[in-house]
């Protein structure tokens, strides 16, 4: 398993490059992963999505689909793609310290 430094912490990654352990995540790690994903600064709107995803994951055990994100996070599809260009579900999950979403939608 790969280990990489984020925000001064050595963090274990899974095969997709997402955090292997949910509890190693903190806001500074999120910011460092975001920079790697091409998002220089996380805004309040980014955090709304990230926090929603973490909450959903802790309750359901899987990252939410784009449809659920659109309906429940308070951020619509267009904005999701603007906030997390080239794959909102995948990128937001990675920044939120979650595994890659399994669903197709």
């Amino acid at each position: 398993m790969a280990v990489k430094e984020y925000a001064g912490k050595m963090i274990e990654l899974d095969a997709d490059g997402n955090l292997a352990n949910l509890n190693e995540w903190n806001e500074d790690v999120a910011k460092a992963v975001a920079v790697e994903e091409g998002i220089e600064a996380l805004t309040e709107r980014h955090w709304a999505v990230i926090n929603y995803m973490r909450k959903e994951f802790s309750e359901k055990g899987d990252a939410p689909s784009i449809r659920k994100m659109t309906k429940e996070s308070g951020v619509d599809t267009k904005e999701l793609y603007a906030l997390f260009p080239k794959g909102p579900a995948k990128k937001a999950a990675r920044i939120a310290g979650l595994p890659k979403p399994k669903g197709c939608i």
Binding site: R67, G87, C104
Partner: protein, 163 residues
């Protein structure tokens, strides 16, 4: 390592529920992976974007030997039974219920979602003319009515998928 797929163009040519959804799921999935996507609706596939038809898309039960009840591994439905009045309505209801469980939206919502995700949506000019339709007959997400030539122009660098 092989180059990742960057751009796809999906042609939807069939107007049944099982004809339309695969194209929509693939287009949405492409956008989710950061792949550019274009949807081109032709022939009966146009029903997926015709305002008055898109909420009434049904599963084709006639001539479908893979039709099983109550699930895909259940006993096969004798093909002649697919022609019983109401069978398509019934099968559609069953399938929609299962799709909702998987968070697959109804056609109209799905089209909006895919369009908002940045996928371009086009209707085929030859079919539009043949069916005597105009731009007004389509849902607002349809960006334009284009010829097959324009479709190829827009698909430069794309992988084309025909469904």
């Amino acid at each position: 390592m092989d180059e990742p797929i960057k751009k796809i163009s999906i042609v939807v040519s069939k107007g049944s529920l099982d004809g339309i959804y695969p194209g929509l799921i693939m287009a949405n999935g492409a956008r989710m992976e950061g792949i550019e996507a274009t949807l081109f609706f032709t022939f009966f596939g146009l029903h997926g974007v015709i305002d008055k038809k898109m909420d009434k898309i049904k599963v084709a039960t006639v001539g479908n030997p893979a039709m099983c009840v109550p699930s895909a591994i259940g006993p096969g439905l004798p093909t002649w039974m697919g022609a019983i009045p109401g069978m398509s309505w019934f099968a559609t209801g069953m399938m929609k219920k299962e799709m909702e469980k998987l968070d697959i939206p109804p056609v109209r919502e799905f089209i909006t979602m895919i369009h908002d995700a940045g996928c371009e949506i086009y209707a085929c000019k030859a079919t539009v003319d043949m069916f005597h339709l105009t731009k007004k007959d389509f849902c607002q997400e349809v960006d334009d009515i284009i010829s097959v030539g324009q479709f190829y122009e827009k698909s430069v660098g794309s992988q084309i998928i025909f469904t």
